[in-house]
């Protein structure tokens, strides 16, 4: 798994790619939580996620809750079919704000 963090204006974009699994999700969790410390808006790009397990989903939920507690905007974008399937099975696809593309999220 790889994590890229960049600022697009006032929005912090966190791009996860590859397999977000029990081995790699602690890295994703740290990056996601750190993003909620440094920006008022966080957009998580999941377009290149090939696999995500329950620990990866838990990292997203934890960051979402951290953001919500600080009244920070937190959304997902360009969710890959693999990640969307797991979000749907976990009934979280209606909990997160999800943009079809990163550009949509940046423009919101």
């Amino acid at each position: 798994m790889e994590v890229e963090v960049r600022d697009e204006g006032r929005i912090c974009v966190v791009r996860l790619s590859g397999d977000v699994d029990l081995e790699s999700s602690p890295v994703a969790r740290r990056a996601l939580l750190a993003s909620t410390e440094r920006s008022r808006c966080v957009l998580v790009d999941l377009s290149a996620v090939k696999y995500i397990d329950s620990s990866g989903i838990a990292s997203l939920v934890e960051a979402y809750q951290s953001a919500r507690g600080k009244q920070i905007a937190f959304a997902l974008a360009a969710v890959s079919p693999e990640a969307l399937r797991v979000l749907q099975l976990a009934r979280l696809d209606k909990v997160f704000t999800i943009y079809a593309t990163v550009a949509d999220g940046l423009g919101a």
Binding site: D21, S54, V61
Partner: protein
């Protein structure tokens, strides 16, 4: 139509370690692809087996990185059967249940994902009395077959 006998597609023995989960996923994906299982069906099966292996590593073996997992995959015309065997102390199946989803919190989703992705989930006792057996079944609908 006569039901064909189950065909053994894979028998895979792996150390019960977090850094070996990707090997299990890779081996399972490859055998399902060769067997003509659709990508969507394979995605669910791989996720369920991965989550089950995580539960074995973390809960049955206590996260110590010791012990082994044996995965057997069999197929008939109508279903895939996946059996995961571990050699940890027996776990009471009554203690294994998915958490309610109405509470938003991180963690505890693995058992729910397994039950959602698979058609049958059974916790069994091995005939020799050692360890635990988890039997998962995924029905092969026509659209679950690839080419």
């Amino acid at each position: 139509m006569k039901q064909s006998a189950a065909e053994l597609l894979l028998e895979y023995r792996v150390p019960a370690q977090v850094n070996r989960l990707k090997d299990v996923r890779r081996a399972l994906r490859e055998v399902l692809r060769r067997h003509g299982v659709s990508a969507a069906c394979a995605r669910d099966v791989v996720m369920a087996v991965d989550e089950a292996c995580q539960n074995i590593i973390r809960h049955a073996y206590g996260g110590e990185g010791k012990g082994e997992i044996v995965l057997c995959v069999r197929s008939t015309l109508s279903q895939l059967e996946l059996v995961l065997r571990d050699f940890a102390p027996a776990v009471d199946p009554a203690c294994i249940h998915p958490r309610p989803l109405d509470e938003l919190r991180p963690g505890g989703l693995g058992t729910h994902l397994i039950r959602e992705a698979m058609d049958e989930v059974e916790y069994l006792r091995p005939s020799d009395g050692t360890g635990n057996l988890l039997r998962l079944v995924k029905r092969l609908e026509p659209d679950h077959r690839g080419s």
